[in-house]
Amino acid sequence: MPARSSLSFGSARLLIPLVGLVGLILGLTRLTPREPAAELRVVDAVSIATLDPAQMSWLQDIRVASQLYEGLYVPSARSTGVEPGCALELPGSDDSSLRFQIRTDARWSNGDPVTTDDFIFAWRRAVEPGTARDYSFFLYLIRGVREYVDWRNTEIERIGRLPPNERGAAAAAHRLEADRRFSETGIVREDGRTLRIELVRKVAYFRSLLAGPVFLPLHRGSVERFARWSDTGLLFFDPHWCKPGNTQYNGAYSLADWTFKRGLLLTKNPAYRDAASVAVGSVEWLDVASVDTAWLMYATGRAGWLLSLEAGFAPELVQQSDSPLPGALNHSGRKRDDVHAFPAFGTYFYNFNCLPWLPDGGRNPFADARVRLAFSMAVDRVALVSQVTRRDEPPATTIIPPGMITGYPHVEGAGLDLSRARSLLAEAGYPGGRGFPEVTLLFNNEANHGLIAQSVAAMWSQSLGVPVRLLGKEAQSYREDKKQHRFMVARASWYGDYDDPTTFLDVFRSDNGNNDSAYADPEYDRMLARADGLPDASARLQALAQCERYLFNGSMPAVPLFHYVNIYAFDPKRLTGVSLSPRLLPLLRNVRVSTSQPGAAGSD
């Protein structure tokens, strides 16, 4: 009988599982598809959340959607304004009733013409309770839409309360009624190519809204197939409709591939109405989670265009100094010309809690506008920008980034004035900061929010003599606390959604869901409503500027700190046609890649 010892580790027996293991590993790596070849590689340092235009609110998603679809209006390449997209506005169109005719050459990627029905279908999805999201309220400006949504919600609730066996029939009847009611809203189909939009009132900036993702059209024939009705009458869509191959596109590019957490492949859409002017045939849109790796991908030449440079050493790059790393990073060998910092349509500020009482029951010192004004005047924004954030951000004393909205006058807010700040504080009953309760400064523990908070806290405690406690929290908890007004001062930011001052000023209206300061001022609400309703465009803008002045020289519900700056990284000799518009949308249809050098804008 041959020797039998327990699991013997004779060399041969050890080798077999080892080889098997290595084989398994190699097999697993093969499960991921190879990366496609593309003319241009673009890197965004955030992951795509969704490609459903009705549901997107993140910038990175909107960036992709703006390549795939074209609305009635499209964002302008040069400013925060808009230009006509796949339709032309007809004469007789005004600020309360807009008429559009869709261009004859506007087609989907399979050749189907873009029709009014495509728009109506897409816009209905945007307000339907089952699919509506953050921006659906834009459509409430259209006559009858809000009533439709309220009616839908009530009915769905009613059907939900019925016993299960009765629901089916009730839901079916309700569906027919819903179709009928929606057709009676202000979204009017005049014919297959003519659309009329009737608003509840005059809205001066409605055209700007039309360039937003929530107003993009969808290929009804394709997306309809993914509709699902629940037994309570709720309308959903199987989210797989967004995957490549399931729908058609009317933008400059089509979605050819989407690998989860790797990236997307966009290919030129030959049916696009202006396809002739689209120079780049294929774009790989990469999804990278780490800001440092994103930079390295650009720096090593794997990607040709980095859409947001957020790495910790970004300020240094911005200062255009020599590359901090050895090796062939700095292609030209001189000061870099490939880091492009430009102003964005957004502001970084601190909200004050304006409620009379704090969540713990104590009196809120910030309920007094003099205190808020004092704190605002004690912040040295120039020092903040030059020593802490260091990206050449414009210091902000008002909320609206200047010079971006055409026709909007320059507004000055209360700036640094220490003596005035101290006297205001004394007036409010806290001379030298004595008796002032500890200020809690809430922020989320990301990026440099902590550093900024430390600096501002130091300014307040040194100049005003008030104690400040920093409260850095994880993102979702921070959001919860803000919503519940569990803070005294909280970090905030706001990017403009459309090309009008109200996109910023509306936030401070007492009934606005995003009014985290809980700032309730009937006088301000009145001013704002009156200004918004003015018929003359320039008088309107002047009146709105008055509102902004009112806020940031007197009542100060928030302390603006600086306006945002975005940084692109690309080599201007290889990539041309890039617009540095404050909307931060890379319009690939205008971009050209120079093929004069090998491995041009991103190599395999």
Binding site: M1, P2, A3, R4, S5, S6
Partner: protein, 325 residues
């Protein structure tokens, strides 16, 4: 005697203590002839085990080393051999079995495999041949149903059986010398007898020279032709077992024998040797036994000079200034 197979001469071993290297075995000499058993007798800490390890060159080089002497196996000095050569001799020409059979076997290998390994090493047999050889050996050492038993693991066997396996491992290679370090100390009395019997019969059969290390004079009486009594690293008396038992010449030997309780004098008070065995390297000056010796306690010579190994008429060697024939 020139037909000695193992000849240990002047063996000295030192160990590393916190205070440096200290000699623990001094000038140990003895010899073994084929078919002969020499018992190395002493208490714990006397240096007997370490001497055995030194012979096999199994000392942990970091903590112990041989300082002097020769160990001749068929006239070849084992201490002078390069390690590779010694590896060939170890286990094949001279084998060793140890005190604790419970832990001396590899728990993850079958006993058959462990014996076969020895067989393989000794004669370069094939796997299958070595296995059969192993089974044969296991049978020879008295393990019933050896064929089946060879596939069991050590934890499935009793202490006595494990010691038999150890013997099988040692002897399957047919060595000339077997060193048995207290082979029965950890076993029950009845098993002890069996093992000792086995050793004797194997010795008869193969002409093995046996170096038996023990502290038990009963074992000495039964098994050994020659005995060497060791105290504090020195052999204090060496000679034929019968002679020593009948008429011990060294005070320590006398003391040891007196300590053994006798069945014939049941109610008598037990004799003790006062004092304790000195610890390694910390021996008293002169004769290491002198503080405990009724003869030498107050003797200047015993205190100052290490006794030389004196030869006596019946071939005995005794290290004592006061020993008389």
């Amino acid at each position: 005697m020139s037909d000695r197979v193992l000849d240990v001469s002047n063996l000295g071993v030192a160990v590393r203590t916190p205070t440096g290297w200290r000699a623990v075995v001094h000038e140990v000499s003895f010899g073994l002839a084929p078919r002969q058993t020499l018992a190395l007798v002493g208490e714990s800490g006397s240096g007997k085990s370490i001497s055995a390890l030194a012979i096999m060159r199994l000392l942990n080089s970091r903590s112990a080393r041989t300082t002097s002497g020769t160990v001749e196996l068929d006239r070849v000095d084992l201490l002078a051999l390069p390690e590779r050569a010694m590896t060939r001799i170890r286990g094949r020409r001279v084998a060793m079995i140890f005190q604790e059979p419970m832990t001396a076997l590899n728990p993850l290998m079958t006993v058959g495999a462990q014996v076969a390994e020895s067989a393989e090493l000794a004669s370069g047999k094939s796997r299958a041949e070595a296995w059969s050889e192993a089974v044969r050996m296991l049978d020879r050492v008295g393990i019933a149903d050896a064929d089946r038993r060879a596939a069991s693991f050590p934890h499935e066997l009793s202490g006595g059986m494990r010691q038999r396996v150890m013997i099988a491992i040692a002897l399957v290679a047919r060595p000339a010398v077997l060193i048995a370090d207290e082979p029965t100390t950890a076993l029950d009395v009845t098993i002890q007898a069996q093992i000792l019997s086995l050793l004797q019969s194997l010795q008869e059969e193969t002409g093995l020279a046996l170096l038996l290390i023990t502290h038990d004079f009963g074992v000495v009486a039964r098994m050994a032709d020659q005995a060497a009594v060791i105290y504090a690293g020195r052999i204090v008396e060496r000679g034929a077992t019968d002679d020593i038992l009948e008429r011990p010449l060294h005070p320590y030997t006398r003391g040891l024998l007196a300590c053994i309780p006798s069945l014939e004098r049941p109610a008598a008070r037990l004799t003790v040797i006062p004092g304790t065995v000195p610890s390694a390297g910390d021996e008293p000056s002169g004769c290491a036994f002198h503080p405990r010796c009724e003869l030498g306690r107050d003797e200047a010579r015993c205190r100052d000079e290490v006794p030389a190994a004196g030869a006596f008429a019946d071939g005995r060697i005794v290290r004592c200034w006061k020993a008389e024939a």
